[in-house]
Amino acid sequence: MVFNSLHFLVFFVIVYGLYFALQLKWQNRMLLAASYIFYAFWDWRFSSLILFSTVLNYFCGLKIYQSEDVKVRKRIVFISIAGNLFVLGFFKYFKFFIENLNGLFQYIGLSFHFTTFYIILPLGISFFTLQSLSYTIDIYRKGMKPTRDFVSFALFVSFFPQLVAGPIERAKNLLPQVLTKRAITFDRFFEGSHLFFWGLFLKVFIADNLANIVAPVFAASPPYNGLEVLLAAYAFTFQIFCDFEGYTCMARGLAKMMGFDLMLNFDLPYFVTNIQDFWNRWHISLSTWVRDYVYMPIFFSIRKVNANLRISITILITMAIMGLWHGASWIFIIWGLYHGVLLVACKVIRDNCRDWIKPKSIIGQRLWAGLRMLFMFQLITFGMLIFRAQWGRQIFDMTRAMVFHLSWFDGATRMIGQIAGYTCILILVQVFQYMKKDLLVVLKSQIPLRVCFYYACLILLTFYGDFGADEFIYFQF
């Protein structure tokens, strides 16, 4: 059941009606039941994994808090981490691990061969695993107290708007909201509706239409036309943003309508002048999670090396893990490492030549910032090409085509027109948001402008929206 379906509309109307009629205690029980039903629409069998993660972390959290003995606390947090990662590892990485092990055996001439079998990847497993893990780690680090209310904790782990593709919420943010009465006001309802509508537009009109342009190019075999690859890469850069931000906006909008505030996941990530800033604005809930639970612990565990080398090693390991989180494939590891190398380069440039390349005049600085933004967009787009590639060799073939075979092709004008047509409203809105430094600038604009905006979006959605897609890109992670 995806947000952009009639099933979901019916589901949400029923849930919302009940939500209004109930008191806090029963609201939470009803939302918990609704979240499990929502998940069961994909595959009810995997609801048991959410329940496993919930029970494990609930009891581990309590036990860690009750114990003053450092060794005991360490042991329990280890059980929590190992339990969660075992489930994630088995369902997501087992096949990848065995295949690579078999490949290694073959390479070194051993006749050993492990049998692999097909394992279905449970939807949203990477999201709810990280979310519930942060709870026990935060308690271990004495950053929060556990809750004794099992229903509320179970709802924190399985809250349906963000269950399958985030934002990956922290217990410190979401759990207090689950435990206390939520305020539902007209302002929050309108803001939530606006977010949901904008998310729906991003997904159905932009992302799913761009997907129809991108998919044939990446499904084709070489030789490639460089220009076609370049256009497909640009299109995918917009597609993935609209797909994921579309989901996030809808999730935040639904939650907002029920009185919850979910964290921001994207903050104009393509309007950046360096790669570090990109990661501060792209998939914020994941990047801050990785910063707090992966990046810092790795950094503190590496000692006796030079400061710059220590940070660089930390960045590369962290980004490789971040890549692997996205999927059990070497392509995602390459993508992570690509960003790791860019981050290291960013640090080196910042430390050594930031002052001498910064223009003195204000106009010069603005021009320089604009050029950097444009350059960053190219680097991000190339990263997206790696991300979208079907197999490793395709990255090489496509890159070679973009460098050596960049020529006009039949249908180029049409492809450019389609990409421009699908993305122009997004670009206009984002430029507006960037200039006003306010992501809700449309909602806060004059009523006639808002009416025109909603009307235009509605017309485009109705006549040109692709309602056929039943998945979001990030569901597969």
Partner: protein, 84 residues
């Protein structure tokens, strides 16, 4: 203990001034990274220079980041480690 904390605080402020320039309005409880005072690379460099200056070793991985990403928290934990 207060002397040590003041010493650590002065050192952190001087390091921040070196790295990010003007820090006149820094709040004791403000999160360095989230408020944009310093980025995560710069913050780790700051931690390394504190460890080097006072010859201490703190396992920050055991702490909640919100505990040591504020001036108050950082001064507290570093002061505690020096006093030990």
């Amino acid at each position: 203990m207060e002397d040590i904390k003041q010493k650590v605080k002065d050192f952190i402020l001087s390091e921040l001034r070196k790295r990010v320039g003007d820090i006149e309005n820094i709040n004791m409880e403000e999160n360095f990274i989230e408020s944009g005072v310093i980025d995560s690379f710069g913050f780790l460099e700051l931690l390394m220079s504190i460890e080097q200056e006072f010859n201490i070793h703190i396992n920050f991985a055991e702490l909640d980041p919100s505990e040591f990403t504020t001036l108050e928290g950082l001064v507290f934990h570093c002061g505690k480690a020096i006093a030990l």
